[in-house]
């Protein structure tokens, strides 16, 4: 059953949509949730929430890429859950490390109160990523979108951990520079 058929099930309000989604994209979304959240139970609940969110958003949505659409929902829900856990002092794990690293890209003097439209910032990020080499881009998105550990990325792309770290460091520095140029320096 391909994506178009699964989306058609959501539009027909057929609960099989969720079973088919879980079968096809369950492992992918679970992997995303597991990297962000500290416990498998939290991850599992996050994936269940993802299917319900998909159910609530299709229709009206008809995603061009169902995999990315679901992955994005999982990531957002997992980050929400992580925030709640942090407030409860139960957060941590790979996502916290990734978040700290990403903090290096935020230009000094930037104000927390500064109103930033996520979409506008995402557009800047899209342009920035388009300019990176494919290898650097995969590493950056792997680390900060999927929250893969440096060791995982090194294994996946058959390179040393130090090389992965160096690539990430350089990409972060370039991003920081770009954000300053785009006026995100407060």
């Amino acid at each position: 059953m391909d994506d178009r058929e699964i989306i058609a099930l959501y539009w027909a309000r057929a609960e099989q949509a969720i079973a088919e989604t879980d079968r096809r994209y369950g492992p992918y979304c679970r992997a995303i949730a597991r990297r962000i959240l500290p416990s498998p139970e939290d991850g599992e609940e996050c994936v269940s929430d993802t299917w319900l969110k998909a159910w609530q958003t299709m229709p009206p949505q008809k995603p061009a890429c169902l995999r990315a659409f679901l992955g994005r929902i999982t990531r957002n829900l997992a980050l929400n859950r992580l925030e709640a856990l942090r407030a409860d002092k139960r957060g941590g794990g790979e996502s916290s490390l990734a978040l700290e690293e990403l903090g290096e890209c935020v230009p000094a003097g930037g104000s927390v109160e500064q109103a930033v439209e996520e979409r506008a910032l995402a557009a800047v990020l899209d342009r920035f990523l388009a300019e990176q080499s494919e290898d650097n881009r995969r590493l950056f998105v792997g680390r900060y979108w999927y929250m893969c550990s440096v060791a995982e990325l090194a294994r996946q792309y058959e390179m040393s951990e130090s090389k992965v770290k160096m690539s990430l460091l350089r990409t972060r520095n370039r991003l920081r520079q770009r954000l300053i140029e785009e006026g995100y320096d407060g």
């Binding site: 058609a8 299917w51 061009a64 990315a68 700290e100 995969r138 999927y146 996946q156």
Partner: protein, 342 residues
């Protein structure tokens, strides 16, 4: 802007960047994105790769292998997969669609007599297993394990393509491919009675050991879980109930992998909805009340976990887009009474 906002904004980047960086278990070189027309192409390739060389079913005299022994052999060092590949195998005048579910482990120890030969390779029975739920395919790195999904149904396949907005030319091409590749095969809709008999070796209700009915797990909200607990899991193993079940499911007509199109065609609304309070039968809880995921166990220890009964649609559905024709009101009443759906 702070780091949290940056992390959130990163979540909204272009799909293409998300896809190209998706972690893979094994990937030495970057993969190309799957082409848009993948479904049609895959089907065409699968059909093109098929050779119709049925071999007579041999009489096996090896010690019996149970389903649990087979799956244990796979678990011990093997790899379990979910519908990694599909293939067509001629079985009793029909074309059975099998899905690869595993490889490695001790499968080589359970490789039985040849069953059929197609261009995909030589298909073998599992040693000492008469039923055809599982087959082993000879491959370069050892046998792979395959599980029956459905029979090929031409009209179902056409409906699936139609639902995917295929052109007339594509539909015509599919008809020609089926005609060329399966010249003598029966490609009409089949019944669940056919599946029980041909694939599971079940000739009558006497060959059934039990039927287990569990609630649907699609709605995992707190409310949904509460309903699941209330519905509970029921095991039916008394001869009278098994006879009722066998009589109710045997005539059910299945369209194979039709992408649910048959369902859409027959169902423009929930024909058997308990209430009209909500259009959203899933989150309102109604679907959880009215759906049962079934496990049918045979007296040889085989289980069929594919059939899911929806009293709201008045039909069965299965993973992989396999759907049945709408049941008659009498069949729905019988099944509802059997599973205690009121």
């Amino acid at each position: 802007m702070d780091k949290e906002q940056l992390m959130r904004a990163l979540g909204e980047i272009d799909d293409a960047y998300i896809m190209e960086a998706a972690p893979q278990a094994v990937r030495k070189r970057p993969r190309l994105l799957w082409p848009a027309a993948a479904a049609c192409a895959a089907l065409a390739l699968a059909l093109a790769g098929f050779l119709y060389h049925p071999a007579p079913a041999p009489v096996t005299q090896a010690p019996e292998t149970t389903q649990s022994a087979l799956l244990t052999a796979l678990k011990n060092g093997g790899v379990q997969e979910t519908a990694a590949r599909e293939a067509f195998v001629p079985v009793e005048g029909r074309i059975a669609v099998y899905e690869q579910i595993g490889s490695g482990g001790h499968l080589a120890d359970l490789t039985g007599e040849p069953f059929a030969e197609t261009e995909t390779g030589v298909w073998r029975r599992v040693t000492g297993m008469e039923a055809l739920k599982y087959l082993l395919l000879e491959e370069e790195n050892g046998p792979t394990l395959w599980e029956f999904r459905s029979f090929a149904v031409l009209d179902g396949a056409l409906m699936q393509l139609e639902a995917a907005e295929a052109t007339e030319t594509e539909l015509k091409e599919l008809r020609s491919q089926y005609a060329a590749r399966f010249p003598d095969a029966d490609l009409s809709p089949y019944t669940y009675g056919d599946v029980l008999r041909i694939i599971y070796g079940v000739e009558s209700a006497d060959d059934l050991k039990s039927v287990t009915a569990s609630p649907s797990v699609a709605n995992n909200t707190d409310e949904g879980k509460a309903i699941q607990r209330e519905v509970g899991t029921r095991v039916y193993d008394d001869p009278e109930t098994l006879q009722l079940f066998y009589d109710a499911v045997s005539p059910v007509v299945c369209w194979g992998s039709c992408g649910w199109s048959a369902v859409y065609r027959d169902r423009t609304e929930y024909r058997y909805s308990f209430s009209t309070d909500s259009d959203d039968k899933l989150t309102s809880g109604e679907e959880t009340w009215g759906t049962r995921y079934l496990t049918v166990e045979t007296d040889t220890g085989l289980t069929n976990e594919r059939w899911k009964y929806s009293s709201l649609y008045g039909m069965f559905f299965e993973f992989g887009g396999v759907g049945t024709e709408s049941l008659t009101p009498e069949q729905v009443n019988d099944l509802n009474a059997l599973f205690g759906i009121e």
